[in-house]
Symmetry: C2
Subunit: 93 residues, 2 copies
DNA sequence: ACGTCACACTTGCATTTTGCAAGTATGAGC
DNA sequence: GCTCATACTTGCAAAATGCAAGTGTGACGT
């Protein structure tokens, strides 16, 4: 499997990169991600589980039943790729 | 829609970025892509159609019923993003 | 002229993923 | 003990993906 295929195996699923992009601005709570991205709640739960398992993000317990999702170093390392893709999407060749 | 979301709308589908990566090495024929990537043939046909419609690649007629798929300038502009994602997949933070 | 072959797909159907809407669990605070 | 916010889970429909087999076409040899 190529390097690109390995990357896509982790962040290639729908919504995954958008979630990571949102977390580049700092830790966010579940409801924040849901409202900001408009992602279906079951998908969000699944992605957060997968991304945590892949070491891209981690859960930070806050008060009782609230927690924050924050990127790990591995997750932060996606910044370059996300910026490059965003620039392409904006059509700045 | 954010820039990243716009990009993913075009190259976020399964196999899309892998096809583009393969074409970074130069124009390829349908059968080459199929064999090199192991992508299902119906999906390959669909992606090539979508990517052509999006202006990422174009068809070059060769002999009778063979043609080559080549990246346009817009497609070539994905190189940066693909390299960045590949580097991340290789785990070079 | 006719059959064969390589190539680029298409088609039908099963499986998997995604999406929507509604429901559950938990503990704080009144 | 009731309500509320928060973070999910669950059931089911729709869409995307995958597999295997089939179709169309023009070159080429006989």
């Amino acid at each position: 499997m190529s390097d690109l295929a390995a990357a896509l195996d982790i962040v290639g699923a729908r919504w995954a990169l958008l979630i990571v992009e949102r977390l580049l601005d700092g830790p966010q709570r579940y409801g924040d991600l849901q409202r900001d991205l408009g992602v279906p709640t079951n998908i969000l739960a699944t992605r957060l589980r997968e991304l945590e398992a892949a070491g891209v993000l981690s859960r930070l317990p806050l008060r009782h039943n609230t927690r924050a999702y924050a990127l790990t170093d591995r997750g932060l390392a996606l910044r370059e790729a996300i910026i490059a893709l965003g620039r392409w999407g904006r059509n700045e060749t």
